[in-house]
């Protein structure tokens, strides 16, 4: 202990900071989630138990949010990672205008979420007076206009998914272009000499070589998608329950401050449920990745 004294001293600022702003609130949230009938104003509670969890899990709004979040995760993570890989491969194989395209593909990353949401609203809108460009296109091909922003559930979910894919893709393209560039040219030359078909080069050489990066993107993608909130707000406004487009984080926020606000116990319970889901999924991801990721590349 004495030997390590200096080490602990150097760690102290970070430990203090983390204790105050991370560990203490975490424990607090845990306690809140078990305190039944907690009153924020008087700081009192009636009892201790699992009622908060039971309430949240039976709340239709929460179940809707849970469903929305899962759909979002299952659709957007594979779709965005796959598309990003395709684009990154295409970018790596061209020489001319490569930098220009790299910049173009990176633009959504530096653009504000809400501003992009506004653009999407205009693109997908359908009002009594005018249609957005997407609806004009649908009309052009002989279809009926669909209200993507305030219409049927599938239409709204579609827009949310497209929006999410579009907003998370630039980062993935960036990472994957870098990963592809780091694969040594000699492997491809060796494969060429041995007349390896292109598809086999991709599956047997490229993919294994960049697999650590792909798994990194999938894991962070899952975590990010589970925590989605601002994207839905940008498209459908703050009353997400009414729009049937709420996410788990949105539900937590509503419980704290929203229209039905003032229930920190329910919010805490929902937050812990989310935490457990993310933890489980991440653990599964890590287990899968340990088996299939190539080491020592």
């Amino acid at each position: 202990m004495k030997k390590n004294f200096k080490g602990w001293l150097y760690l102290l600022p970070a430990i203090i900071f983390l204790s105050i702003f991370m560990i203490y609130p975490l424990i607090d949230v845990l306690i809140y989630s078990f305190e039944e009938g907690y009153n924020f104003a008087s700081q009192t509670h009636k009892g201790v138990g699992l009622y908060n969890y039971s309430y949240v899990l039976h709340d239709t709004y929460f179940l809707q949010a849970l469903k929305n979040t899962f759909i979002l995760v299952i659709i957007t993570v594979p779709l965005s990672t796959g598309t990003a890989l395709l684009i990154a491969m295409a970018l790596s194989s061209i020489k001319k205008l490569r930098e220009l395209f790299q910049t173009v593909f990176f633009l959504p990353y530096v653009t504000n979420t809400l501003a992009v949401g506004l653009v999407f609203m205009i693109l997908f809108k359908k009002t009594a007076y005018s249609d957005g460009m997407i609806n004009l296109l649908i009309n052009f091909f002989g279809g009926e206009s669909v209200d993507f922003i305030d219409g049927p559930y599938w239409a709204k979910m579609l827009v949310l998914c497209i929006y999410t894919v579009w907003i998370v893709m630039p980062f993935k393209i960036l990472i994957l272009t870098g990963a592809l560039a780091s694969v040594k040219d000699d492997y491809y030359k060796a494969a060429k000499i041995d007349s390896t078909p292109r598809w086999r080069v991709f599956t047997r050489i490229t993919l294994p070589m960049i697999s650590p990066m792909i798994f990194y993107l999938v894991i962070t993608g899952f975590i990010g998608a589970f925590k989605a909130y601002s994207d839905a707000v940008a498209l459908f406004g703050t009353d997400l329950n009414a729009a049937q487009m709420n996410t788990i984080v949105g539900y937590i926020y509503d419980m704290l401050y929203g229209n039905s606000g003032g229930y920190p116990s329910y919010a805490s319970a929902a937050a812990l449920i989310l935490f457990c889901i993310v933890l489980t999924i991440t653990c599964i991801n890590l287990m899968v990745s340990k088996k299939s990721v190539v080491k020592g590349v």
Partner: protein, 371 residues
Amino acid sequence: MKVVLEKLTKRFPNRNKKIKTEVVAVDNFTFEIPDGTLVGLLGPSGCGKSTTLNLISGLEKPTEGKVYFGDTDVSDMAPEDRGVGLVFQNYALYPHLTVKQNIMFPLQNFKGDKKLTKEVMNDKVLEAAKLVQIDMLMDRKPNELSGGQQQRVAIARALVKQPKVLLLDEPLSNLDARLRLQTREEIRRIQRETKVTTIFVTHDQEEAMSISDIIVVMKDGVVHQIGKPQNVYDDPTNLFVAKFLGTPPINVFKGKVKNHMIFIGNSAVLEAKDIKDQDVYVGIRPEGFIPDDNGSLELKLKGLEVMGRDTTIVSTHEACENVEIRSIVSAETKIIPEMEMVRFNVKPMKTFLFDIESGERIYFGRQEKIV
């Protein structure tokens, strides 16, 4: 399969785009490699030897000239259609595949009629692995192997598809000194056993001399000399080749020919009939010195290196281009380190004259062109 290079030329645009002149990596290389020989492409770095190898493998396209495998013109053929095996300098083994999978990789690419069954593939892989003696390491990953073992796997992978030509790019440069000796013998043995025409690139003259049937000495894209290692050593065509081959290197003096005698400083060392008076470079191989108390060439003694089998006399002379002169004499020679000067006679067949301007060889006395 014999390999024929015909006026092979490769020019690259200069990397600095402002400079319009092109870089000539390989200049007008014509050579016929007989079937089943081991050829060493030798030269200092940047001399175009790797580019030559890439032109043969098809990874680079020639600017001019042709490459033939046997009687087939392969100049415009893609590398995958040429049927060559290539061993990369850093081996390029796939790190996520086992030794067995690595060696099997080329076989699994065969299509159509050539497609092999699992059993045949396994047999071929085992055969190749046995040839390079790694059949007990089949389930290891490349990063669990030593450098020498990785090298063997790379050779097995190149050989397993029975290539027409085996190409090796600096095969020994990533190995330590002891392993290098061992591996070069291995390459020789494998080549003898498979009888595949093999071309390898190296900057180490000892490596090239020791195992090649034929060596090709290159510099700045130009082939300077082609021949059997001993012949090239005994009969260099110019000063560069003479300097590049041999350890310790040849001793080069600034001298002159006057009245049909070769002079180094003021000493007339050898007779040179029919040579007109001119300034020359005189190159004397380390083994070309005969210690003699009445010898014609007097050198200032700097030290002795006793090896047991023989002795290296280190000395200096003001006309010498090298920092010091190294001469190898038999261990019985009576020379004591306290002597200030040593006297030598020189062997005419171990002494070469070169033109002072062009560096071209000037034959004198009984010397004849061998190569």
